[in-house]
Symmetry: D2
Subunit: 467 residues, 4 copies
């Protein structure tokens, strides 16, 4: 940021009325140019289309219009070339651009703001930016989904313990486990898509808050900027930040999903689990413990979910209880949203890389299913299916057999038929057919179940659903 110390100019933008100066603290608390300059492209695009509409409706002349458009394009070039000098005294991106336009084309620049206000201008810029963020989130999630589906396909037959309460519950396939996250990110994409549709109404023309008496054509600017229609109420238009809140809600829910996968990666890659090995690209060493392979990227993904939740919370609090229409509190919308978007894009990218890179320790996963009587449910189901007993009875029988095996220090298939018959005489040696982990997994063929056949079917459907 370059402060050209242009306070007098800034003052003059507010009209001829202010006698006192603007204190330093005020400039610091009030100026937004440090963060809102990120909106320069949206601001210039919006201004160009507004200008074209003013010409089309004969509100300004074609000559003035041409000069303005040309000037704006030059400014865009200057910014992208890093040659533009931003001024804090000019407060924000809108004033910085307009002030430079005046330098380039003279007084005609002053016609651009006809039938417009900073209130509808900033709402337009910010909406366009959040709309892009929705599209980018969708793309990034798609890449993550592809990484997951590919990894799931490779691991459709790899058996691991399925956990509840971090206790081994039933054997599952690793492919199945990964597809659980595919579902979460599918819902996330759908939320961003819905958010995008809902926000896609154009604020331009709401002016300060009441609309305008100039004969503008709001449908023209809406269409030119890719909006579905203009907004329906000018006061709502300049008071509304739902689009930012909804983006952050979707990002917060998605970040919670990321945090869950990250937590699992941290657990899976500790020595006690040793289910996966994360790549050097996403781990670090220790300054004092040379043997460490720390899953830093996964931990940061997990930790940064707190940051996104915090940003959502921050803007909800800021918007709470604000009278219509625009209040300066609403300037707080941008940093919270920008930070949430940047953080979110970073953790999605890191997670995609980690999923692609991780090596699966198939043997360790399989070995872990040998503890914890993991086929107890299969045994109970066999009792129901073959002996015809009610599930609750079967459940009690299984509980007794587990207790027996625990005492004996073996797994369920380590019990002899005789021992089993002590608990339930009707048991036959057919029962041993369901006590193997492989058979357990293969048998769970209900729709969406963990059997490799089902996983491959869902992989195939997933590829279609990714779009």
């Amino acid at each position: 940021m370059t402060d050209k110390n242009q306070k007098p100019e800034a003052n003059s933008l507010w009209g001829g009325r202010f006698e006192g100066g603007v204190s330093d603290i005020m400039e610091k608390i009030n100026a937004s140019i440090d963060f809102d300059k990120i909106l320069y492209r949206q601001d210039i695009t919006g201004s160009i289309e507004h200008c074209k509409m003013l010409v089309a409706t004969d509100i300004i002349s074609a000559d003035d219009g041409d000069a303005i458009v040309k000037g704006l394009k030059q400014i865009e070039d200057e910014i992208e070339a890093g040659e533009f000098e931003f001024s804090a005294a000019l407060e924000d991106i809108h004033m910085n651009v307009e002030s430079r336009l005046t330098e380039i084309i003279g007084a005609a620049a002053g016609r651009l703001h006809t039938a417009r206000s900073r209130n509808d201008q900033v709402a337009t810029d910010f909406k366009l930016w959040v709309r892009d963020a929705c599209d980018q989130a969708d793309d990034a999630l798609k890449a993550l989904q592809m990484a997951l589906v590919e990894k799931a396909e490779e691991n459709a037959h790899v058996i691991m313990p399925g956990f509840t309460h971090l206790q081994s519950a039933q054997p599952v396939t690793f492919g199945h486990h990964l597809l659980a996250y595919f579902e979460m990110f599918t819902r996330d994409r759908s939320r961003f898509q819905d958010a995008r549709k809902r926000l896609n109404e154009c604020p331009l023309g709401a002016a300060a808050l009441a609309g305008t008496s100039f004969p503008i054509d709001r449908h023209q600017t809406a269409k030119a900027l890719g909006f579905d229609r203009p907004t329906s109420n000018s006061m709502d238009t300049v008071s509304d930040r739902d689009f930012a809140l909804e983006f952050m809600s979707a990002a917060a829910i998605s970040a919670v999903h990321i945090s869950r996968l990250a937590e699992e990666m941290v657990t899976w890659s500790c020595a006690q689990f040793n289910f996966i090995q994360m790549s050097d690209s996403f781990t670090t060493g220790s300054s004092i413990m040379p043997q460490k392979r720390n899953p830093d990227a996964a931990e940061l993904c997990r930790g940064k979910s707190g940051r996104i939740i915090g940003s959502l919370n921050s803007l909800l609090v800021t918007m709470k209880g604000l009278a219509l229409t625009f209040s300066k509190d609403m300037q707080e919308d941008k940093e919270a949203t920008f930070d949430a978007v940047e953080t979110y894009s970073l953790i999605i990218a890191a997670m995609t890389g980690m999923v692609e890179d991780m090596k699966v320790n198939e043997n360790e996963m399989r070995k872990a299913t040998n503890v914890g009587f993991i086929t107890a449910t299969d045994l109970a189901d066999w009792v129901v299916r073959v002996l015809g007993l009610p599930f609750r009875t079967a459940h009690h029988i299984t509980g007794s057999l587990v207790a027996m095996a625990e005492k004996k220090g073996c797994d369920l298939d380590g019990l002899t038929l005789e021992e089993m018959k002590q608990v339930e005489p009707a048991i036959t040696d057919d029962v041993f057919n369901v006590l193997s982990v492989e058979k357990s997994v293969a048998s769970r063929e209900s729709f969406g179940g963990t059997a490799p056949s089902q996983v491959l079917k869902q992989v195939s459907l997933a590829k279609e659903r990714i779009g």
Copy 2:
């Protein structure tokens, strides 16, 4: 809640394995029956359809199926008649119902839980409940929208100051102001509708986490319970609470809208504004200051937005970093959601009543537009339109005229033409045509603008959009 001190029974549901007792503190922290009994109807409906499917797929006999369905219906009747004795020792609604079913129909009750687990059962019950909550939110918002539209129509011509920064900016109509909230609640309804669509996949059949080896028909139960399809991944199914988070996100955003209208009502009904009078039904007196007419209901609506934001935050935090699949942390989902739904329904209902009841002090609103040079923008626009000067120049001229009027102690139309000409010689007496508040409002006919004609047009569209 009636605690029949049935700890031994409760223990026995967990199998024959536990030797120690369950401490009091454990019962208190673990039992959910106090709050999850609200799910009884969803639980029984889900069980009935699960049972019918088990019969249709020959997993259990038709006789057992009939007995189970009949027993479940009896339990529903008992609960609705207030005759059911809930037991904390039986932990939750699912075990309370199943235990009673056993009392009524004997061992056959134990067949109901075949090919099912509490994990998919609770996900189904809770989803059905949240789905209803989405529908009810939509209905409640529709009623609020109707109240707003009706009030807007009545007040399409009532003029008041439009505020930014709580400073008079431009005159608007009160109908226009109310329609701003119509737009917010339209977006809110749309969010609840999207949430409903997204959640509408049936968890039943995911079983504990891995699916089941029984030949169940998940499409049958999904259809019977009004779901669009079964879920696609059993592990995601029992780990997912997105539907609760998404409901609460939508409710939090909507509660912020409510808080804004509530804040305005509090402000509008203070003596200094006196724009509206709230009805006795939604105000209270003071125990010590008999003259007070306190806008308690509006304040509670405003304050309770904090509660809903807190509940959303609470569940996001709880879900953060949880390994798949089910962990008991997730039991915290229900109280947060139930409280958010109840709070939300209460503030929507209260707000609907307050909108319907409020009396509009038309004269006070109109009088308030006489201060603050509220037609300054109209003056600036006139300079642009009639004198052809750039907007920024017009803005400076207007600023000088406002300063002049402020010094003279009059409004803009209190300046003489001569005085105006001192600032800008080209001004003619045509300018006085735009300095009246009524003309200002009538002129803002851009789409979505504040002109009464536009307001009535939007009222008419709103009636269609309400559906």
Copy 3:
């Protein structure tokens, strides 16, 4: 709650002015008796002392005073005996008590509210309640500290891996690990003690907001109720809810500590770690997987931290931006605080029980230190200390030795001296003296370090510090 349908009565408390009735929705949103009846003891105690002061200052007669005090004590007895009928129409505990007092002693009851308002009354009741909650939190934390210290003493020599990033870093003792939590809860207690000191100023006498013209003695009531002094500004007094916010801040930070220990317990008790076994009292079985020993209580402790964070957040949001003095939004303070206190007391109690009950699998912990080159730092430190090389150089040497051992498939002490000399010729066989886990632990004798001698010293200090 018994609703005696006393709306007319309720109305009459608000004075003779209201013509309309109070709608059902209003009663539901406005009444607080359902939750604030928990304050009955504080309310009655506060009223008794207020009454005695009114007598002492000759504002009311001794006879009226005696009647009031006697009546209030009778009401307290009725409530504690469960014989009191609470009425929602009477809104809150204060009106319920006063209304009953009128029934008992007649018109003299009306003198109790002299020089008082519900605003200072509720602030007093609530402060007294939160003050008790601070004391109880301190006591509960003390019990938890004692459980930790005792367990730490028993396990001062038990060796386990110390983790960073959930990767084995250096060996530590389990006693040392447990004492880390002792420190956290020491800070927590200190926070509650500070909160108690800060809140200990008496609101009584602030009246509605402005103080009173009656010649009351605020120092008398302050002293009688155990406050250090009366508050200094009547407007702040009735607007202030800092004491609830500060309690919840301290509880939220402490709940985060609890959540960390709970997370560790869940991890430690999974089959892959198997460091501890949690007692049957705090685990549950599964309805479908009989072999499970689910750490439900630990998971609920972890999950409920979200709830307390949510409650803190909720009240911060509610208080944000409220104009002075009392607004009805502030009624939201109580449910948030009550829930936070109850939740917090529950998780502290559960955690205390879990710490007391847990069995330590000493062998498994020790075995876990055999992987991961856990004495690499000791090796590096040896190189620094004995060979005199800079730490960074030592670090590189150690890294190379770890890589060599990893390739060879052994731990560091599995390398021969010759192999080591290939990396750094100066190494001698003295190095093997630091490669054992036991020697590593014993050597870390810096103040607060993990050596058993240090742990026992800190245990001894801790016993003194508990107080």
Copy 4:
């Protein structure tokens, strides 16, 4: 930030073990130098004292020690002169400093990290920084208190309506109203002071997590750095971020206070209230409405409370459920805290300026007490005091008189004695002595009450309490 593309170097800090490179995304998510360079002074001071202790305990030589200290001082100078080139590849401030130290003094630099780890180093740096932030917050709040007390003294006799529910309740003095905020900020200062005391234990010497086998003197470094003592448990030391959480809790509560005063300033300065005029220094104009004097700074103070609440929430969420000891999630502590501190310092400074600058419209305030039967409580109290009736009876009488006055369209002192006697025959014309606003205010002389005499007494006490 200058990225010297030193990835190989960075890698080499992690030991000789990594074969793969560090991806761009990893560098972006992992590097903290962009924000933690703010800690340079604390880092260098901490290193200097650590180095001196290493010399004093003969762990390193005096010559090496001198070289290190000299090199560190040179680096501090370079940073302060803006000549230091920070490198993202070197991740953080600690590695940037150490790497530069090596450039300056060669291999001896590698001795500085003896008996230390980044874990205790970063905890020390961050604690020192937060300790400074506590001191600065205390100073800033003191300045704000002085502004308030001065303004309160000037306005000890200025009468305004005291509000509850934004309804006129009883007359108060503006000085009294301002002193309410003095009390809030007094509690805030006390919270920061307590936080400072609690954090003041030195982490240095905890090393990575287990302490160290070098014979260090932790008491020496603690004392040299102004800490009260070293921390008592090395694992807690590197896991603890309570000090940041507690700072942010105190800041969040204080920000809520600021938001309340800001809300009042916005309300007071709107045309309808017109109680104060904010200075040009803290208001802005409008780009389209030249007459506006927008209270931007007050609105930003109000809005930014959401940001601080969000930051607190963010770190609580991030810390929730983290296993001991250090996890990379904890790197998220700094940006949240830095932003909270900067935001908080900004709003305190802005608020101090606004309080100092605001002009009080004494006449408007006084005029506003003429509506709303603001002395009704005085009337009720008169009935109690003079007629000896119970307060509740007096309350009913007053309610009837207010209704009568409302009907007649006058204030209470507009009723004749005869009219009053219709309601309560015992009323005498002495009653008119309490119906004036001035007498009402003067009569509320209870401790902490609104009478000018009390306000001046509290002003005098406040000056002492400020310290």
